[in-house]
């Protein structure tokens, strides 16, 4: 099935793999994945790759404004889409199922479990991440604890270089109890498959009214922090809802073209990038 089985997989060279997990949907996994990629690639000239294993709802192409891109195959394997950043001094490499669909905007992927598992295996085996090893590979996951999650863990387990790769989970939650309940299940999953947890991020924690600066806790506050105390996990920090970030993602094509810049430079101008930088420090990411 995979054509370069005998070759050394390029993912084996990766230094750190971060799995972004949450039992609940819509808490901002893709948003946190994106921000992790943007922030990490802006420091120390890190080489960062993003792998989107949400097969039935891939949002990563939209987040990076890569919706019409297609993956090409080389003799080494599938080539990720490269996005130049920081005035072309660095690139982000992105892989998503969205790049394999004919009409990535409308086509739905209606696949049963075994087929989804096979797809994830191909993403691990067949993607050629480049000659330079990646400093960080950030993996965006679908909600829940099902086939995709089992498959990714199984596939990461058989990497040849596993002892040298630092594999950690980043858990994302929103503050309300409904979300915390699902996230506890995800933490339970991490325990069962023996996946180390880097920490928990509380996303959508408060909303600052752009008119009067009054902060409303739309989805309450502190749930993630309390969860960490209860389960003795590292708490990485709060991220507020920032309409400016949503705007940057939704209209990045125009914003980037207008300022003649790139996504990372524009992101670093936002207030939320400073909040996120605290998370990077708290998580001891370099």
């Amino acid at each position: 099935m995979s054509f370069n089985n005998d070759k050394f997989k390029s993912i084996n060279n990766t230094k750190n793999i971060l799995l972004v997990l949450s039992g609940k949907g819509g808490v901002g996994k893709s948003s946190v994945t994106t921000q992790l990629a943007l922030s990490l690639s802006s420091i120390n000239n890190n080489k960062v790759g993003v792998l989107d294993i949400d097969l039935t709802g891939p949002s990563i192409p939209r987040f990076f404004d890569l919706e019409n891109e297609k993956i090409f195959q080389s003799s080494n394997g599938w080539l990720p889409i490269e996005k130049p950043i920081l005035n072309k001094t660095n690139t982000l490499k992105v892989i998503s199922l969205g790049f394999l669909l004919n009409d990535s905007k409308n086509d739905s992927v209606v696949w049963k479990g075994p087929k989804r598992q096979a797809m994830i295996r191909q993403f691990i085996d067949d993607v050629y991440w480049g000659d330079d090893p990646l400093d960080y590979l950030i993996i965006d996951t679908p909600p829940g604890t099902t086939d995709e999650h089992i498959a990714i863990i199984e596939n990461l387990r058989v990497l040849e270089n596993i002892k040298n790769i630092n594999i950690k989970a980043v858990i994302v939650t929103t503050p309300q109890r409904i979300s915390i309940n699902d996230v506890k299940k995800q933490i339970n999953f991490c325990d069962i498959v023996e996946l180390d947890i880097l920490g928990v991020i509380e996303n959508m924690s408060g909303f600052k009214c752009p008119y009067c600066d009054d902060c409303t806790d739309i989805f309450s506050k502190g749930g993630g922090e309390n969860l960490c105390k209860e389960l003795n996990l590292p708490f990485l920090g709060f991220l507020p809802i920032d309409p400016k970030f949503v705007e940057l993602i939704e209209q990045q094509h125009d914003i980037v073209a207008e300022n003649n810049s790139d996504l990372v430079s524009e992101y670093l101008k936002l207030g939320i990038s400073k909040d996120f930088h605290k998370i990077i420090e708290e998580g001891n990411l370099k």
């Binding site: 949907g25 829940g144 309300q176 009054d214």
Partner: protein
């Protein structure tokens, strides 16, 4: 991969195997590379055996007038919240009997939202010789969820698709719903095993009345909902209407409205025009709604005058128009 298997007798079926019981057995594209192609295609003249569960499900659901799916390609847009609110609103009419089925196996939220579960303990389901007795919230509102079957509240369910299918089938064929006017089916995000299965089962028994799509206004969400519309059209589910959730937030301090999830591409309304789907309106973000869901209280009963409730009442009227009573 086949080189790993030395024995000729054991080979894996190809990735896109249509299955020996399907119409395409032995004739699909994938079958050309399969060792069992002959066996499968020669079987084609034999009568097809229908899944025995289908008849059981048909019998069990025969007393339900309307079966409504709540769908969205995206997670966290409010499927469970909407399902809960819809169940509460419909059940405020004492003449109607409502069932609420939670198909989200790996992230069940219904029990918490509808108030059948406290922080520390689960409500339990009772198994009788006739089947599963659902959990009653009120006399005319019954719920089923995997959460009721877990020994500990935080236990994770890490199941591959086959096992999830067994569970879903069990819910459909063994639940003692009695006579229902509405069965609301809350689904997990995506277009995955749960969706394929429930549609296959309900299509072969009696097709679902229709699906309600939930979205939030921003393009990231609409993108996933387009896929869901595509899915519904592929498998032939009627889309009854689309609801735009979390549309706008009013600051309680200055009373000015902000579109937190900005509809940069026209939001749900233009999506509905594009696909010719009825647009059922916007439900605004109300922080009190989140609190009610966390505490398992009925928002529509506590805040009957709120904008969100008024929107929902309109939506229920739209829904009723397309249902039989």
């Amino acid at each position: 991969m086949s080189s790993e298997n030395n024995s000729n007798t054991v080979t894996e079926e190809p990735l896109h195997c249509p299955g020996p019981e399907s119409e395409d057995a032995g004739t699909g594209d994938a079958c050309n590379s399969c060792n069992y192609q002959q066996t499968c295609s020669s079987n084609n003249n034999l009568p097809k055996v229908e899944d025995p569960d289908i008849q059981l499900i048909k019998d069990n659901l025969s007393n339900i007038k309307n079966k409504i799916l709540v769908l969205s390609g995206k997670g966290g847009v409010g499927k469970s919240t909407f399902s809960t609110l819809l169940a509460f609103l419909l059940s405020s009419d004492p003449d109607l009997n409502i069932g609420l089925l939670d198909l989200d196996i790996t992230g069940p939220s219904i029990p918490k939202m509808i108030g059948t579960m406290s922080d520390t303990s689960n409500a339990q389901l009772h198994m009788t010789s006739n089947g599963l007795i659902p959990n009653y919230v009120q006399d005319n509102l019954a719920t089923i969820s995997i959460q009721y079957l877990l020994p500990n509240i935080d236990d994770a369910i890490i199941w591959k698709s086959a096992k999830k299918e067994t569970m879903i089938k069990k819910f459909l064929k063994d639940t003692l719903w009695s006579d229902l006017d509405f069965l609301i089916i809350d689904t997990p995000p995506g277009t995955s095993d749960e969706h394929i299965l429930i549609n296959k089962l309900l299509n072969k028994t009696q097709s679902v009345t229709g699906a309600i799509l939930i979205t939030t206004p921003q393009e990231v969400s609409l993108n996933d909902v387009r896929k869901e519309i595509n899915f519904c059209q592929k498998v032939g589910i009627k889309i009854m209407g689309l609801v735009e959730n979390m549309a706008g937030f009013v600051c309680k301090n200055c009373n000015r409205k902000t579109d937190i999830f900005k509809a940069t591409t026209g939001g749900g309304e233009s999506l509905c025009k594009e696909f010719n789907i009825p647009y059922w309106g916007k439900v605004p973000l109300d922080p009190r709604l989140g609190v009610c869901c966390d505490q398992g209280e009925s928002f529509v009963d506590l805040y009957p005058e709120s904008e969100a409730t008024l929107c929902l009442v309109d939506i229920v009227e739209n829904l009723m128009d397309q249902c039989e009573l």
